[in-house]
């Protein structure tokens, strides 16, 4: 059974109108997306700012309620859980944020932070193989002596380890990682990425890994989905997405990343023209059409379908058949 099944999920945010006046605007932050996530699997979600990545992560954890669509966690619909099931869902689905500085309470020691999670979920702080807190700290590469310290006494990378320990404390099956290394230096990022992979190998949980960094997503994911203005544009197993991308947006995005080695490519040749349209006024038809070098009149009028073009390979593009 998949850990997570998402069907036709939609989330609209409405702003303006009402008492404050102003024109009422609807942002379609997540617009009709579907996917499944299996046990021990990492699905990478990549996209530019405002594409709906964080909103998708919040929806998956039940922290936002969807405008439409369905989410099943371990087979059960999450918007229709009983009390006990709901508590279990909260325990088994966790999140780690980008900013380890803001997400840890500065007045609590590391031990308090972890003890509190155990208590909230009704878990013992002592297990058969000893105390839970020291073993959690060891698992994320910190030392048991660190338990008595406060978050400000740690470096950015160490704080992110504490946030990971907190997510692990309740024995989750799903961890949403929302830009977990974007605030870290590359050498620290490497440590945290290795840790996340080791933990998955040891524990077998799934990750929904959100990042705007295409290289990080390649490194950590089994499958990858590319978002643009609330829509899934392409989803494929990692090898396919990076070696044979089919959507013009995916191709352009991959070409835009400056490579950390010297190439003959010229940065000028890689540019996608134009700005990202406002998410509250996305273009009609295909959302990428205003910037797409391969646009046809149809692309400006009609939204392309989400088509399966190969094994586990989905693309939303009118012209995809021409180059499959």
């Amino acid at each position: 059974m998949p850990v997570l099944e998402v069907r036709n999920l939609v989330k609209h945010f409405t702003s303006g109108g009402g008492l404050l006046g102003g024109a009422k605007r609807v942002v379609r932050a997540v617009d009709d997306v579907s996917f499944t996530l299996s046990g021990n699997e990492t699905l990478g979600v990549v996209g530019e700012s405002g594409s709906g990545k964080s909103t998708l992560g919040f929806l998956a954890l039940g922290l936002l309620s969807p405008t439409a669509g369905e989410i099943r966690f371990l087979g059960r619909p999450v918007n229709d859980l009983g009390d006990r099931e709901n508590r279990e869902f909260r325990r088994k689905a966790q999140i780690v944020f980008q900013n380890p500085f803001a997400s840890l309470n500065p007045r609590m020691t590391v031990r308090d932070i972890l003890d509190r999670v155990l208590k909230v979920h009704g878990l013992p702080s002592v297990s058969e193989d000893g105390e839970v807190v020291p073993s959690l700290l060891r698992e994320v590469g910190l030392r048991p002596e660190h338990a008595g310290r406060y978050p400000h006494e740690f470096s950015g990378g160490q704080r992110q380890r504490i946030a990971i320990a907190r997510a692990l404390a309740s024995g989750p099956e799903l961890i949403v990682l929302d830009e977990p290394t974007s605030a870290l230096d590359v050498s620290v990022q490497a440590q945290v990425l290795n840790l996340l992979q080791d933990l998955q190998r040891a524990r077998g949980h799934s990750y929904l890994f959100i990042s705007h960094n295409l290289a990080v997503i390649r490194h950590v994911s089994h499958r990858v989905v590319v978002m643009y203005l609330g829509k899934f544009m392409e989803m494929a197993p990692k090898e396919r997405l990076y070696s044979a991308p089919l959507h013009p947006y995916t191709r352009a995005l991959l070409a835009s990343v400056p490579k950390p080695f010297v190439t003959d490519e010229n940065i000028e040749d890689k540019v996608i023209a134009g700005d990202i349209p406002s998410p509250s006024a996305p273009p009609a038809g295909c959302r990428f059409n205003t910037r797409c070098p391969l646009r046809t009149p149809l692309c400006e009028e009609e939204e392309p379908e989400w088509k399966e073009v190969g094994k586990e390979h989905f693309v939303r593009c009118h012209r995809v058949d021409e180059w499959v």
Binding site: E48, A190, P260, G274
Partner: protein, 323 residues
Amino acid sequence: MGDPILSVKNLTVHFHTEAGVVKALEDVSFSVGQGEVLGLVGETGCGKSVTALSVMRLIPTPPGRIVGGTIHFDGRDVLALSEEEMRSLRGKDMAMIFQDPISSLNPVFTAGYQVEEAIVTHEAVPRREDLIARVTGLFKKVNISDPEKSVRSYPHMLSGGMKQRVMIAMGLSCSPRLIIADEPTTALDVSIQAQILSLIRRLQMEGGSSVLLISHDLGVIAAMAQTVAVMYAGSIVEKTSVKTLFDRPLHPYTRGLLGAIPRLDVDQERLSVIPGTLPDLFNLPRGCKFRERCSEALPLCAEGRPLLAEIEPGHEVACYARA
């Protein structure tokens, strides 16, 4: 290349704080040739911005102080100039583009007005119509869509990429000979980053300006720079052509950094990791600052600080294990 436009020698900068003295820069030396793009790369806190601010003489004093070294711009001793001479240098001969275009623009003035201001600060005011035409022309040059309308826009009405273009237009308003760009695309999306980088490249080629490009992103450096200086904890540890740096890095820190980056083009089983953490700038260890994290450290490395030395033609490294 002739004489370098910028030449920095043994620059040493301290910050005096309540917690002690931060040794932000120690004996930093480099030069930027005419028309050259020099990339300065390194992790948080290694001193990239302090280097840029020192060249512009914008280090907040106190707490900061340039305690040693020299900076020459076009043969002139920057540290000896009067405040007034410095003001005319900044924005006219040297321009700076910062990471955060949002906080660098004043929210209460239109984008066009702010570029006009940058021009009239350094030139006798031409006729108003000429000024407007010039600003509109600059907006066109940096690919701002609908320039006639955009000059009248307030910063909050522009996207991040557009604001960075306005900053670049401002920086270019007086055809500077040196552009200092401190993480100019770090706050931007990849597709917008590619646009801005190609813009900086085009303007640099057309105008023949030199560029000091600061970034923590080795990809950005590889795409833009001819020469690269790698900084670690306030010192330059390696300096060479961009090609040599990526083909044959010699300093153990540079090698570690290159191995730690996830790659877009190949699968890596595991990222290599530099063990340990950055040294405390309040309390630097004796000897090489990278020694405690280095797998190749020799007894000698605990004795003195290795200085940059040319190990092969055009390739300078500060490492006893390579000497």
